[in-house]
């Protein structure tokens, strides 16, 4: 089976300066009762986005008409806590293709990569530059190139390279799938089981 292909995007961004955003904020546990992968975007950041009567909270960035785009930019240690892949599903389902932060929690990073959602880890300084750029112009455009592994603030031309596991990069740029890869080594699994 193939996964979503990601190579390059250039778009405005949605800034979320909060640090240590855990997956319970991204998608609260009470919305994990679905048995399919679809529709989680409606409840992305549910309790920050809506009040107890389901009215949008005007102060929250996703409800602010001026901010839009396919890149979510967030404070450090993004995606900590629960291993729920529903967090990555919710972000992708809402319409984001990439998340930029200065630090990602491990499990979230893996889940994102398995869903064609690119986690881009930048330096603290570069993260601040993006937030500053958006502060100055909410429509500021950021470019992310997975093939050449760089992220650029288009207006200023400031850019930084980022790391990505070469295997996961090949998966994302070609739509390869982990299960197909492991099953191509099935005889090794059987040999391993016999040898123990």
């Amino acid at each position: 089976m193939s996964t979503k292909i990601f190579k390059h995007i250039q778009t405005s961004v949605v800034p979320l300066t909060i640090e240590n955003i855990d997956t319970d904020q991204i998608i609260p546990a009470r919305f994990l009762k679905a048995t399919t992968r679809e529709g989680f975007g409606n409840n992305l950041f549910r309790d920050w986005r809506f009040d107890e009567n389901d009215n949008p909270k005007p102060d929250f960035v996703l409800n602010h008409p001026v901010f839009s785009g396919k890149i979510l930019v967030a404070g450090k240690n993004f995606g900590c806590g629960s291993s729920r892949e529903h967090a990555a599903w919710a972000i992708a389902d809402y319409g984001f293709d990439a998340v930029v932060s200065s630090f990602f929690a491990d499990i979230f990073k893996g889940n994102a990569l398995n869903n064609g959602l690119l986690p881009v880890q930048v330096s603290d300084e570069f993260l601040k530059k993006i937030f500053d750029a958006v502060d100055a112009d909410p429509h500021a455009v950021v470019e992310i190139d997975l093939v050449d592994q760089f992220i650029k603030i288009v207006a200023s031309g400031e850019q930084e390279t980022f790391e990505v596991n070469p295997y996961k990069k090949a998966c994302m740029t070609n739509g390869y799938d982990d299960i197909d890869y492991i099953l191509s080594k099935k005889e090794l699994i059987e040999e391993f089981e016999v040898s123990r």
Partner: protein
């Protein structure tokens, strides 16, 4: 070459290692539950693949289940549907399910160890971040996402890059009233909720050696709360004694052979760690968290930090956390009135936790302003508690013993802390809304939680111990 405990276990499970690729790691047992498995089963169906090793897959229903009247159908429709879906999927794919009504049902990280499924030297995964619990046996165990659940179902393997290795040593004698939960909350408060990210953490030192298996599970359970990939403790006589005779533990000759192997599972003297941290047991007070991530913890007598003590870029997030918690700079939590006490979760719901709480509350009664829920980790824990008469002691103190499940740790069932209310909780996460929308959580040990329930406010357990 000298190896760490982690590397010994990892190397013994590598099916294939190729430059530029993550390792293909063999998984001994895959634990599954109702919340993170349905989409994985759907994936298998659309690929037309079976579960490769159904006998190495163990299922239970824990996250959604009610903790009263478990013999009745689940009231909440979506929860019921999710639990029923697990039952159907297990049947279709030939997986043993310890569902509601089964004598082995319980929180997945409580039942694996108590059934002797979790063993030293093994590899365990589950679509749940607290899988790190099983590392207490000297095993590699960690949480995975649903795509990986599907991967393990299809291949009994996981693609995984080897993490860095960290050793956290704690030596010395704990103060009275201080236990495993306080140790791990202290460590996380010192290194932050991200301090372990990218590492497999081995806990070493005589303080951990002196802990029971239950205590070690509490410590390893919260490894994920500092971001660690997993946490583990080398097996010793305490471990072997705990495993011996359990339902699925090896027996006879297999047992003897296993024990010989388990005794080789320790970090060699000159093994290299990427990072080593040391703490003194004597420095650890009973701990409590004040904020909205588990790294925001203090000794129970200390004051909440001041906003200005943080770097400027962190101050916004810090203020947001204090505002959510209804606290202010420099406030002392000691004496703060509370509304709920939750004793349960995969962190602190084992028989030892219930014994400790029952012993403490015997002859006392909870304060009127506090609602207490005691939720056992498994059916076996519940039955054991009843056999020992703990349910009666707890009940008389106003601490009713409920039925097993994850309960108010993540509030997927009806056990929710109401908006704005304070709960002293023995669970593992104090995130915003974790115990119910706008609920406020103070994480603490079972003893601190019990003492706070008795007084009706945040309490230093040591007050009760000076006689």
């Amino acid at each position: 070459m000298a190896k760490t405990l982690f590397d010994k276990i990892w190397d013994a499970h590598v099916v294939s290692s190729n430059e530029g690729f993550p390792d293909i790691l063999y998984i001994d047992t895959h634990f599954i539950h109702e919340v993170t498995s349905p989409q994985a089963f759907d994936g298998l169906r659309s690929r037309k693949l079976p579960v490769l090793r159904p006998k190495q897959t163990v299922a239970t229903a824990d996250h959604n289940v009610p903790t009263i009247n478990q013999h009745l159908p689940i009231k909440e429709e979506l929860s019921r549907y999710q639990v029923d879906t697990l039952t159907k999927n297990c049947k279709e794919f030939g997986i043993e399910l310890y569902g509601l009504g089964h004598p082995f049902q319980g929180i997945v990280h409580v039942i694996g160890p108590e059934l002797g499924i979790t063993l030293p030297g093994g590899t365990y995964v589950c679509g749940d971040s607290h899988t790190s619990t099983h590392g207490a046996f000297g095993a590699i165990a960690f949480g995975i996402g649903t795509s990986q659940v599907e991967q393990v179902m299809a291949t009994q393997c996981l693609l995984q890059s080897r993490p860095k290795r960290m050793k956290i040593e704690v030596n010395g004698k704990l103060q009275k009233g201080v236990g495993a939960k306080d140790i791990i909350l202290y460590i996380i408060s010192q290194i932050s909720a991200a301090g372990g990210t990218g590492y497999a953490v081995e806990y070493a030192g005589d303080t951990f050696r002196s802990l029971s298996m239950e205590g070690r599970m509490t410590v390893c359970n919260m490894s994920i709360e500092m971001g660690a990939r997993c946490g583990l403790i080398a097996p010793d006589e305490t471990t072997i004694e705990y495993v011996k005779g359990r339902e699925f533990a090896p027996k006879g000759e297999d047992w003897d052979k296993a024990v010989v192997y388990w005794k080789t599972l320790y970090s060699d003297d000159d093994a290299q760690f990427d990072k080593v941290l040391s703490f003194k047991a004597e420095d650890i007070e009973p701990m409590i968290t004040y904020g909205t991530n588990p790294g925001m913890g203090i000794g129970v007598t200390q004051h909440v930090p001041e906003t200005l003590s943080f770097e400027q870029k962190e101050q916004g997030s810090y203020k947001k956390a204090l505002e959510y918690m209804g606290l202010h700079d420099d406030e002392q939590l000691l004496g703060k009135p509370i509304d709920y006490v939750f004793i349960g979760s995969c962190t602190n719901s084992r028989i030892e936790d219930l014994r400790q709480v029952a012993e403490f509350v015997k002859g006392k009664h909870k304060a009127d302003n506090v609602t207490v829920w005691v939720v056992p980790g498994s059916k076996q824990v519940q039955e054991q508690a009843i056999r020992e008469g703990l349910d009666v002691i707890l009940g008389e103190a106003g601490f009713p013993l409920r039925e097993p499940g994850c309960s108010a740790c993540l509030a997927m069932n009806e056990d929710k802390i109401p908006a704005g209310k304070y709960c002293v909780s023995t669970s593992n996460r104090n995130f915003e809304g974790r115990q119910g929308p706008n609920s406020r959580t103070f994480l603490a040990s079972p003893l601190t939680a019990a003492a706070s329930a008795i007084n009706g406010y945040v309490t230093d357990i040591r007050e009760f111990l000076i006689v």
